[in-house]
């Protein structure tokens, strides 16, 4: 009863504020004014100070951040959306938090370990643009890729920068009260070369103190990518083992396929895609997909259709108008992925932004808020 009264009161308050300000909240209305005192402040995000930038190796670095009090806690394995201002525009990227909640509780800091993308717009730029004390914005933590304590036997398969959520999980265990975890954990850590094993010392140190933890450094230069033999060779794994996979999508796909052939139960395989999940395990890498997030529809993108045509062909009817990019009615939030704008003849950023559906052709995997 009481909650419904509070709910009604909230609704009335929202209606009042909406009517007075033509914004969703007072905070949004005052946002530009508040920014005079707190630069880059956002009503919907958590203002966060850069504590340090740590270089891990030639193509990875770690942003150490101190979120403001508005930031709630998180679970090891979750990710956040990092939003920074570049040339007057907000740009966003998703990153797993590579440090643990226990570390956050002690220091108030979280870490994002970021791989520099070759032709990236943002990841090579961040360490140059940011320095100690710079302001960025982050979202609250999201994601369900967390280590379940009831899984007694666990195998983590990490590819490249996919190590980050596992580092958070292992750090959390190392901080925990009971020095010995009852969980048996094997980490298959794949990296491009022996130079690229991120957090190697930390994991080795952890292995020394935890007899239930087994670290396997898999040097792809020497042994290639995931094979069934790599998994089959691990004697500590059994039919009850839960597999947690994180890495580039081809690696996740390959691992899932191998586990399928090893008769692993589907509910024992845990993974997370930062984009649309490929339709089947056999798709070619050239084929891309568009995920209509709100409609829960994922469709193959093989023709050179605009997103508007693609949506309509799949019985999703977004608001649209002139269909030539003038009227801005079909504007839609792209959560991730690159699209080609046929009017300006430019490629979009890969992060979240507003796009015009009628003149956007998907280039790679695209997620739309539609």
């Amino acid at each position: 009863m009481q909650s419904s009264i509070i709910g009604k009161r909230n609704k009335a308050w929202q209606w009042l504020m909406g009517s007075l300000t033509n914004h969703n909240s007072l905070a949004e209305y005052f946002e530009p004014i508040i920014q005079l005192v707190l630069p880059k402040w956002r009503a919907d995000l958590v203002r966060t100070r850069v504590h340090t930038i740590r270089h891990e190796n030639q193509d990875m670095y770690t942003l150490v951040l101190k979120p403001s009090g508005k930031w709630q806690d998180f679970q090891a394995g979750q990710y956040i959306e990092l939003t920074v201002e570049k040339d007057g525009a907000w740009v966003s990227r998703y990153f797993s938090i590579s440090s643990s909640p226990a570390y956050f509780a002690r220091t108030g800091l979280i870490e994002l370990s970021i791989r520099i993308q070759d032709k990236g717009n943002i990841t090579p730029w961040l360490p140059q643009a940011l320095h100690r004390g710079s302001i960025v914005n982050i979202s609250q933590a999201m994601g369900e890729f967390t280590l379940q304590p009831e899984h007694q036997s666990v195998c983590m398969i990490a590819g490249g920068s996919g190590i980050t959520p596992f580092r958070a999980m292992l750090q959390q265990l190392s901080f925990s009260q009971s020095k010995q975890t009852t969980q048996s954990i094997t980490l298959l850590h794949y990296a491009r070369s022996s130079q690229h094993f991120l957090f190697k010392e930390e994991f080795e140190n952890f292995e020394k103190h935890h007899s239930n933890f087994h670290l396997k450094l898999m040097d792809s230069e020497m042994i290639g990518n995931v094979t069934s033999a790599h998994i089959g060779l691990q004697s500590q794994l059994n039919s009850h083992t839960h597999f947690y996979i994180c890495g580039p999508s081809p690696m996740i796909m390959a691992s899932r396929k191998i586990l399928e052939t090893l008769n692993t139960k589907p509910d024992h395989i845990h993974y997370e895609f930062f984009g649309p999940e490929p339709l089947s395990l056999d798709v070619q890498s050239e084929q891309t997909a568009v995920l209509f997030d709100r409609s829960h529809k994922q469709v193959d993108n093989n023709k050179n259709q605009t997103l508007l045509e693609l949506a309509e062909a799949n019985q999703i009817k977004p608001v649209s108008g002139c269909r030539i990019g003038v009227c801005h009615q079909c504007i839609c939030q792209k959560k991730s992925g690159v699209v080609y704008n046929t009017k300006t003849k430019t490629y979009s950023d890969t992060g979240a932004q507003e796009i015009q559906l009628c003149i956007s052709v998907p280039v790679n995997d695209v997620v739309l808020d539609l």
């Binding site: 009517s19 949004e28 839609c332």
Partner: protein, 376 residues
């Protein structure tokens, strides 16, 4: 004065430049657009944010001063001016331009065409649906651009004279004083809701019920804010606040109406037939935008207060380029038009406004030729 003969006659297209020269014309305009877009960035973000800050301060400051009017009437007067200025900035330089998607590249959740809602009786999403699509695509095509005369005024020979046109100058004054409601009613939804006018081929992806809800919801919120909530909040000076808000809305209505009429209904504006514009090329489309619009000349402050609709031609050529660049672009556009012998209609405010009034009065009366001819 030769132009006079061409005004609003269907023969216009016969004297239009050749297709190939219009193609070159389009290329040059596209180059202007590209050069400008290359400059868009940090400065534009700072500009629009600062403008929003000024709008907020002027909104709040104005409302406070209106209340303080009991100390001295001058406070009330300044307060009303400040509130009217806030509404004008919100509707024109901020709202109108944001709703055209000029700042969508900023990726800001509150400064984008999908979400922005303005301090105006018309629901912004419904307005955008009509204005950006129909008015900007079919500018000055009789029967397609409902902005041409707003269904109330006869502004060219293309529409048949009716006796009610005789007193259309007073209709115009009434529209001017209630412009936000005129827009909300005529452009957005009203007619379709109340009169049951249904188009054969509706491009609207939303239902009439949704349209109706958006219309009444927005109208109720606006009336509640200015005429119920704030007056009651300052109950002892109820009337003073009510009157202040009323006058501020009125000033905004007169100003926006005047500026907008100067952009499309000046003397030398051309009108078009739907048949002339079928399958038109980009060059022809640009050409029509130029012939269908007119500019006002003035200083930077004037341009900002008009939401840069003083550069109506540039706005129609480049609706999604941040408007603060229009005055710079206008110099180039003017030179390009001169090169291709395309009339560029730009003059001071009073000259343009006088010609608008002249046009309204002139078309109050039946066309000389047609009236002398015997009805067939």
């Amino acid at each position: 004065m030769n132009m006079q003969a061409n005004i609003a006659t269907p023969e216009t297209s016969e004297q239009s430049p050749s297709l190939s020269s219009l193609d070159e014309f389009a290329n040059e305009l596209n180059a202007v657009r590209e050069r400008t877009m290359a400059k868009v960035g940090k400065t534009d973000a700072r500009y629009i944010r600062n403008l929003i800050r000024i709008q907020r301060l002027s909104d709040i400051g104005g409302r406070v001063l209106i209340v303080l009017g009991f100390l001295h009437p001058a406070y009330w007067v300044i307060g009303v001016m400040a509130l009217a200025a806030a509404k004008i900035l919100d509707n024109m330089e901020i709202g109108h331009n944001v709703l055209h998607g000029q700042y969508d590249w900023m990726n800001d959740p509150n400064i984008n065409s999908r979400k922005f809602e303005w301090d105006n009786a018309g629901d912004s999403a419904s307005w955008k649906r009509y204005h950006n699509h129909e008015h900007h695509t079919y500018t000055n095509i009789i029967g397609k651009d409902r902005d041409f005369g707003y269904g109330l005024l006869r502004l060219s020979d293309d529409t048949r004279w009716k006796p009610r046109n005789l007193w259309q100058f007073f209709t115009y004054i009434a529209l001017c004083l209630n412009f936000q409601w005129g827009i909300a009613y005529h452009e957005v939804a009203g007619e379709r809701i109340f009169m049951g006018k249904r188009r054969k081929t509706s491009s609207l992806p939303i239902t009439r019920e949704e349209l109706k809800y958006a219309f009444f919801n927005k109208a109720a919120r606006q009336l509640f804010k200015d005429y119920v909530f704030y007056p009651l909040l300052c109950f002892p000076v109820f009337l003073q606040v009510l009157a202040g808000n009323f006058v501020a809305n009125l000033l905004r209505d007169i100003w926006t109406n005047t500026i907008i009429f100067c952009g499309h209904f000046t003397e030398n504006i051309h009108t078009f037939k739907a048949s002339e514009c079928e399958n038109e090329t980009q060059g022809q489309w640009f050409y029509r935008q130029i012939l269908g619009s007119s500019n006002l000349e003035g200083g930077r402050f004037f341009h900002i207060m008009t939401g840069h609709l003083s550069c109506q031609m540039e706005h129609h050529l480049f609706p999604d380029v941040p408007a603060r660049h229009y005055p710079e672009m206008a110099k180039e556009v003017r030179a390009i038009c001169a090169k291709y012998n395309i009339p560029y209609n730009s003059a001071g405010f009073f000259k343009q406004y006088f010609s608008v009034v002249k046009r309204i009065i002139r078309y109050s009366f039946p066309d000389n030729q047609s009236s002398t001819l015997t009805p067939a």
